[in-house]
């Protein structure tokens, strides 16, 4: 199959993720959309790796996964503590740094 098709898929996934970030209020959903965007990028990296025949893209994809995993840990923790203090998971409610 033509590898370009995978790129189209990656672009589509990224767009869905971006749209989700912009229009959804729930922090968990926004968070998942960000993950979606990251994975879209990962896909693109792997595709490029394949297209150019070297491993750089795949290595970067691993890096991204590691970073994403760390991010999940921190991000979820923030969301949980936000939810605890405000009793809501809406990102719009958390528009001030202080309570």
């Amino acid at each position: 199959m033509n590898p370009v098709n995978y790129l189209y898929l990656a672009a589509l996934l990224f767009t869905i993720g971006a749209t989700g970030v912009l229009i959804r209020r729930n922090a968990i959903v926004v968070f998942m959309c960000i993950e979606l965007m990251l994975n879209a990028c990962n896909l693109a990296f792997v595709v490029f790796s394949r297209m150019h025949g070297n491993l750089d893209g795949q290595i970067i994809a691993f890096f991204t996964m590691v970073v994403a995993a760390a991010e999940v840990v921190v991000g979820l923790a923030i969301i949980v503590s936000l939810f605890r203090s405000r009793h809501s998971a809406s990102v719009d409610d958390a528009s001030l740094m202080k309570l």
Binding site: V21, L22, V30, V91, D92, A94, S95, M97
Partner: protein
Amino acid sequence: MENLIALLIAAPLLGAAVLLVGGRRLDAVGHWIGTVLAAASFAVGVVLFTDLLGRSAQDRTLTQHLYSWIPVEGFQADVAFRLDQLSMTFVLLITGVGSLIHLYSIGYMEHDERRRRFFGYLNLFLAAMLLLVLADNYLLLYVGWEGVGLASYLLIGFWQHKPSAATAAKKAFLVNRVGDMGLSIAIMLMFTTFGTFAFGPVLGSQEHPGLAGDATGGKLTAIALMLLLAACGKSAQVPLQSWLGDAMEGPTPVSALIHAATMVTAGVYLIVRSAAIFNGSPDAQLVVTVVGAVTLLFGAIVGCAKDDIKKALAGSTMSQIGYMVLAAGLGPIGYVFAIMHLVTHGFFKAGLFLGAGSVMHGMNDEVDMRKYGGLRKYMPVTFATFSLGYLAIIGFPGLSGFFSKDKIIEAAFAKGGTEGWILGGAALLGAAVTAFYMTRVMLMTFFGEKRWQPDEHGHEPHPHESPRSMTIPMIVLAFGSVFAGGLFSIGDRFLNWLEPVTGHAEGDSPLSPMAVTLITTALLVVGVALAYAQYGRRPVPVVAPRGSLLTRAARRDLYQDDFNHVVLVRGGEHLTRSLVYVDHTLVDGVVNGTAASVGGLSGRLRRLQNGFARSYAVSMFGGAALLVAATLLMRAV
């Protein structure tokens, strides 16, 4: 012998330091410390005087170099003293009259709890005044010059709880500062012109003319006029005369010592000392004579209208110094006589002031002559000494003032030409007015009916003679007033003494000395007669009548003060107030405005940071899209 010169200054300086730093512990003996040290200085002066007398006339200049004061590349000021006939004369006058007035003050200030401090200030004054006349360069003279100004400030404002005294003190200092500005500019001019301002190199001596002889006329005139400005300030000459009348707020011994006998004559000293400069600039000399002539009339007119005995005497002082300045402006014809009149005036005016102080002492510090009258019965000694001073100042033949003032009038005529006639005429007119106002003071104070009344507390003054410590100085000064003139004039003693320093020339007078004497005496009689007609034959009203236009003007010092007030004080207030406004709104406003606009801009930018994560996301995506678009665009191009 030279090494004694510093001792002259050191003694009173030590007194000032001890008395002012010593604190209340010295309250009991402070006045004696002050008096003894003043007398010690006088004693040293006498020793030096006898030493000078033992030398030949050309060899009477002693100098003492203490140390290098301000050494800077190309600029050299030393602490060095010069004692010659001119400064010797002043030293004796200052320490002599000064010691007497110290003695007088012991009694006069007896009931003042701050007497120790008073003596400290008096000693400070003596030290500064001696420094002024002994300095060997103009910058050191300037130290003494401002030093006496400081002492005068402290003493005028001695009773500082009285706002009027504090204001008068401040005014005296400020007006003097204007004069001081002249002196400092003169010193700067000397420095740029001659490269030095030491007396020796600049002024030279009779045999060896100094650098002043080599300068261009314009520079000399500028220096001379600046020195004159300084002299006007210190000696209360028009246009800087306004402070002297107010200075009478000070205790009377101060008025006698500082504002009559010594400090106010410093201007005359300055001019005579700088003879070499003035001689090179006839234009400046003309201005000096004009200032002198105007002031002698101005002071005399003011003296005629004042009811405050001290202010009347202050007007008289101004007028008499006018005579001296006039004489000094005449050049070598007049220098010696200026100093001679200065010395005799020192005696009789100090005596008159001490007499006035004695009267006030007995009259509960009342100064209004309209509330005196008939005091001769109550205060015989004061009356006698005051009368001798009176006769001396009006120039009664045979007394001090007669000799010294006559010489000045003669010298004024000897100036020659129209100027000579005008100046001589002014001096003659002044003599007549002097006779008038002094007779007025005499009659209002000692003759006629008693006019005093109980004050608001019901205390009626009980005029009485003053204690011995006050009358002795008055008697001594009265002797001086009577005999000094004759002593100086007979055999031209004073002339021979001073001539090696100041030089002397005989003028070409259109009138013979005899004629001048006769005219003066005639005018004197007229002045006395007029005063007698007005104040002797009729009772003096207790409340001053409204008076003629001239009287009213003279009471207000010929409106000079009002002019100063309106133009300088008011104008200055407006200026400073508007400048404060400008500084706040304009200079600071520009800065604050910049700060405010930066603040406003950031306030607007702040709104972009609204805290909504999704709007940040939009701007992020927008930014990313923009970057991608830009990259693509660049590729395409």
